[in-house]
Symmetry: C2
Subunit: 112 residues, 2 copies
């Protein structure tokens, strides 16, 4: 059993083109014994956003703190603490901080 606090895991800058003021913490990733899916925590500063992009694996999202929007093809979805989302495989998406505090959310992905 692994039990930790998310701040035990360092926040790494997301350097992907199109990312602005975003960090990721790999809470349970490929260096852990997690057998099927990975738990990551993102922090997006005010004015920041993830890349608008797509990929074959899904995301399961839970918003912990802050306010933002998920931008999809032809739609925008407002989110705040307590919102959750499923981004289906190959769906275009972007997470954007639309508030004035840090937008903090969990984003889970299947093991590759």
């Amino acid at each position: 059993m692994i039990v930790k606090t998310y701040t035990d895991v360092p926040a790494e800058k997301v350097a992907m083109p199109g990312a602005e003021s975003v960090t990721i913490r790999w809470l349970l990733g490929k260096d852990s014994p997690a057998p099927n899916f990975y738990l990551r925590l993102f922090e997006v500063q005010p004015g920041g956003h993830s890349p608008y992009h797509t990929h074959p694996s899904e995301h399961e999202i839970f918003i912990l703190e802050g306010r933002g929007q998920i931008n999809a093809k032809g739609s925008r979805h407002a989110v705040a603490a307590g919102s959750f989302a499923l981004v289906e495989p190959n769906e275009e998406h972007q997470f954007e901080n639309s508030g004035d505090t840090v937008l903090k959310f969990l984003c889970l992905v299947p093991k590759e």
Copy 2:
């Protein structure tokens, strides 16, 4: 894309023997298009706990609110908002509210 708030999903009493004052919300379950793993939110009232049990699939846990402990074989792990855990396959475990407010946590499991 699915975007909702967790309170949109009804809380169901966990009726399993050994569970006391626990509810579950299946945020993304088998009735959703989630392809690989499921997102559930548990609420444990003060004095309540989940069953002490084991099963072949893992749990990935993130504590949202409250204080509690994860009881395992020969050990107890204190948790609070911001704690996360991996309960590995076949590990004995129990979630217990040791505080005086609701213990709220996410618990993800692989698709069966």
